[in-house]
C-alpha cells in the first residue's frame, strides 16, 4: 500500500496555481526523483507530501486514509520526514539535534543514546556529535539534517536538492547511507533535484515537474511555449527559445512541450525522412546514466536536446563532444501538456 497518495491536488499561492496533480503516489522502498527547473513546484510538492502545507483542493491519503485535521496531520508527519534544501539545525549540539525527533516520540534513556549513536555512525557524523551548528560547514549541516531525519526511522524520507551543498564524495557517502537505511527498514526515498544526472544516480523512478504539472512522458527536453493557431491542419510551428519545432496538436495558448529522448533519431548528416523536425548542432555531452544501459547524447541545436541511443550507435557514429549531428523527430512525437 502507498505510504502517501495525492489525489486531484491543486495548490495556490495567492491567485497563482503552483501545483496541479491528478495523482501522485509514493510507497515504502521507492526511490523516486522529482526533477524540474527552479520554480517548477518541486519544493511545494515536497511540503505537501510532508504535510507541512494543505492543498487548496484535493485529498491527501496516508496509508489509505484521508488526512484531515491537525491530529491526523501530526500522526502522518511521524511517518514522513522532509529535509529541506538548505536545512537548519536547532540550538544545541549535533547530538541534541539527532535526538530531537526521537524525544518527540517519547524515546528516552539508553534507547535514545543507542539510536543516536547508530544513526551518527550510519551517516558518518559520529565525530561531530558534540559540535554546535556554528561549528559546522554547510555540507556537515546537510549530513546532520539527513541523520536527524533518519534517526526517527521514517517510512518515507523526502530530500530537497540533497546534493546542493555537498561535494561529490559526501554525496556518494550520503547515497550509501540511504541505501543501507532502505535495506534495514524499507524507507521510501523521494528527492527533488534540478539536475537530471543526479536524479538518475539516486533514483529508479524519475518524475518530471514543469510549471506545477507532471510530464506524462519524460524528464528531458521540456520546453515552455505558447502554441499559435495552426496555419493549416494540426501542425504548428512553435518557437522554443530561438528554435522552431513542428508540433502536432489541436491546442493553442501556453503549454509545456516534451520531446521523448527515445523518439529522437541521431545522424551525422541530414537524412530524407518523414520527420518534420531536423535540427543540426554539436554534441555537448555523452552520459551513461540510465539504469537500462542507454546512453544520453545531448546536443546544442539552438536549445539543448537529449537523445537516448545504444552503446553501439555511440561507437559507430563516433559520438563525442564537438561532433556535428542532426537530431530528427516527428511532429507527432512532441507531447503537449
Amino acid at each position: 500500500m502507498a505510504v502517501i497518495e495525492l489525489r486531484d491536488v491543486r495548490h495556490d499561492y495567492g491567485d497563482r496555481t503552483v501545483l496541479e496533480l491528478p495523482s501522485f503516489t509514493l510507497a515504502a522502498g521507492d526511490r523516486v526523483a522529482i526533477v524540474g527547473h527552479n520554480g517548477s513546484g518541486k519544493s511545494t510538492l515536497l511540503r505537501l507530501l510532508a504535510l507541512l502545507e494543505t492543498p487548496a483542493t484535493g485529498v491527501v491519503l496516508v496509508r489509505g486514509r484521508p488526512v484531515t485535521g491537525s491530529r491526523a496531520r501530526r500522526a502522518a508527519r511521524r511517518r514522513i520526514t522532509l529535509v529541506e534544501q538548505r536545512p537548519v539545525l536547532f540550538r544545541g549540539t549535533v547530538r541534541d539535534n539527532l535526538a530531537y525527533g526521537l524525544r518527540a516520540r517519547g524515546v528516552r534513556g539508553l534507547a535514545l543514546d543507542r539510536a543516536v549513536v547508530a544513526t551518527a555512525e550510519r551517516i558518518g557524523v559520529t565525530t561531530l556529535l558534540m559540535r554546535r551548528r556554528s561549528e559546522l560547514s554547510d555540507g556537515e549541516i546537510q549530513r546532520v539534517a539527513v541523520a536527524r531525519a533518519l534517526a526517527t526511522e521514517p517510512e518515507l524520507l523526502l530530500l530537497d536538492e540533497p546534493a546542493s551543498s555537498a561535494d561529490r564524495a559526501a554525496v556518494t557517502a550520503l547515497h550509501a547511507a540511504l541505501e543501507s537505511a532502505r535495506r534495514d527498514w524499507q524507507v521510501g526515498i523521494c528527492l527533488a533535484s534540478h539536475q537530471l544526472e543526479d536524479a538518475y544516480r539516486w533514483a529508479d523512478d524519475i518524475r518530471a515537474l514543469a510549471d506545477g504539472r507532471l510530464s506524462p512522458v519524460t524528464p528531458e527536453n521540456l520546453f515552455r511555449a505558447t502554441l499559435p493557431a495552426a496555419a493549416s491542419g494540426n501542425v504548428r510551428q512553435v518557437d522554443v527559445g530561438g528554435v522552431t519545432l513542428a508540433v502536432m496538436t489541436d491546442r493553442t495558448g501556453p503549454a509545456i512541450l516534451a520531446v521523448p529522448p527515445t523518439d529522437i533519431l541521431v545522424s551525422t548528416a541530414p537524412i530524407a525522412s518523414s520527420a518534420r523536425n531536423a535540427l543540426a548542432g554539436r554534441v555537448t555531452r555523452v552520459a551513461r546514466v540510465r539504469p537500462d544501459g542507454g546512453v544520453h547524447v545531448t546536443a546544442d541545436v539552438g536549445v539543448e536536446l537529449t537523445a537516448v541511443v545504444t552503446e553501439d550507435a555511440v561507437r559507430e557514429l563516433a559520438l563525442a563532444p564537438g561532433r556535428t549531428v542532426v537530431l530528427s523527430f516527428k511532429a507527432s512525437a512532441v507531447r503537449v501538456f
Binding site: 511540503r47 510532508a50 507541512l52 491537525s70 501530526r74 508527519r77 511521524r78 514522513i80 520526514t81 522532509l82 529541506e84 538548505r86 536545512p87 537548519v88 536547532f90 540550538r91 530531537y100 525527533g101 524525544r103 518527540a104 516520540r105 554546535r132 551548528r133 556554528s134 539534517a145 536527524r148 531525519a149 526517527t152
Partner: protein
Amino acid sequence: MDHRGRRVDFLAEGLRRALALIVGGDRELYGSAALTLRVAVAATGVACALGIPAGFALAGRRFWGRRVALVVVNTALAVPTVVLGLVVYGLLSRRGPLGTIDWLYTWQAIVVGDVLLALPIAVALSAAAVEGVDPRIRRTALTLGAGRWRTAWTVAREARFALAAVVTAAFGRVIAEVGAAMIVGGNIRGETRTLTTGVALFTAQGDFGTALALGAVLLALALFVNLALQALQGHGRD
C-alpha cells in the same frame, strides 16, 4: 545670597538629604522600593505569562480577525497610563463590576493596572520575536514529529534573546509607571506608595531630597534588574 547661590544650595541640600536617606536605610524609602519591586515583578510575570503565548498565537497562525487583533494590540501600546488607571479604577471601585473583590487602593490594584499596561508590549514584541525566527525552524520541528507545544518551545529557544527583550521592555514599562498606580493605588504611605508615586508626591510637597532619593533607588533597581536579565540572556551557547 544671590539667586544662583540659592539654586546651588537647593540642589546640594537635596543631594545631601537623598544620600542620608539612602545610606541611613530609611524604612519608608526601602519599603517603597520593596513594594515597587514586588508590583513590577508580579505585573511583568503575569503580563508575560499571558502576553507571550498570545504573541505566539498571533504570529504563528493565520486566523480570522488576526489583523484586527494586531491593530488592537498596537493601539493599546499607546494608551496613556492615566486613562488606563481610570478604567481600572472604574472596574475596581465599590460600585464597579469588580468592586466586591475590594482591591481598590491595594498593591494588587496597581498590579492589575500594570498588567494591562505591559500586556500589549508583551503581545506585540513577542509576536515580532516569533516572526523573526527562521520559518524553517518551525517546519523542521513539525516534520520531525514534534507536537504543538514542543514546536512552540523550539521556536521560543531560537527567539530567546528577543523574548528576553520582551521581559525587559515589559518590566521597564511597569517600573516607570506612575499615573495608573497613583489613581488605583491611592499613594498610601507604607501600603501603596511606590517609588514613582512617591517621587511625584514629594516633589509636589517641595521635599526635593526625598524625591531624589526615591528616584535614585528607582534607577538602581531598574539597572540591577536589567543587568540580571542581560546576564540571563548571555547565559548558554548557541
